[in-house]
Subunit: 148 residues, 2 copies
């Protein structure tokens, strides 16, 4: 009973965290975005290198993303699936980032998102994430136009 109750509560808390994350991205609220990540997050991000840490460089990547969409950024998370245990959780989803770029071109991309969470002092934070698109092995090109 207790486990089920905690599971449900934790699931709801993580869903609220992700909702806040999406709203912060749409508002280009950099502090709101940063608030969902642990300071020592390990990010396997969309762009190189293989992995990033948190802190100032991590924040700078988000700011650059925001700046690349001067007319506003649209963000959507689909099929968010959460597995939450006692203090450890992970989620996976398909995330769509779209908008009009600086050069006037429309950009619309679906990425796969996996996030790992840990609970400390009653609060869930993202301690790890991976963001990617698949690769066409023969051409070596990222496949950027896939849709769910």
């Amino acid at each position: 009973m207790t486990i089920e109750k905690n599971g449900t509560t934790d699931d709801a808390a993580i869903r609220a965290l992700v909702d806040g994350f999406v709203n912060a991205i749409r508002a280009k609220d950099i502090q709101g975005v940063m608030s969902v990540f642990a300071p020592d997050v390990v990010s396997f991000d969309f762009g190189p290198p293989l992995q990033h840490g948190g802190g100032e460089p991590f924040m700078k990547r988000w700011q650059e993303l925001f700046e690349s969409y001067p007319h506003g950024i649209e963000y959507e998370i689909r099929d968010l699936t959460i597995s939450a245990g006692d203090g450890v959780a992970f989620s996976h989803s398909l995330n769509r980032v779209s908008g009009t770029l600086k050069n006037g071109q429309r950009s619309d991309r679906w990425v796969r998102w996996t996030a790992g969470y840990r609970k400390a002092n009653g609060r869930w934070l993202i301690t790890h994430e991976q963001v990617s698109v698949p690769v066409d092995v023969k051409s070596g090109k990222a496949v950027l136009d896939l849709q769910p």
Copy 2:
């Protein structure tokens, strides 16, 4: 105390699972590989589409990988970091797959690997994974030659 003890035990159990996974890949033991995944695993795999389910098509992808290395496949997992809670866990690592391809060319690639685990009937299984390399946004090319 109990939580710490369970945490350590679960960490060791997952580490053993991953060790078995690596050994099964090196031995091209398809049943050994499949045994670490839940039947309904959601895989955000290296190649398209955005996501895959488990079962027969999932096994076929592994078999095709094995066949692409007719002279043997080398596999290494570096910096495996595990967060294990009560019945839910996730891990991240940098995995190297290498060997000589059918055409005689040497292939050597580091990928980012995130895995989500659930424990059922006392046994951990991978219920979700994401495997990728970063993308160079300007060229749209996958960056396949990064090293940790």
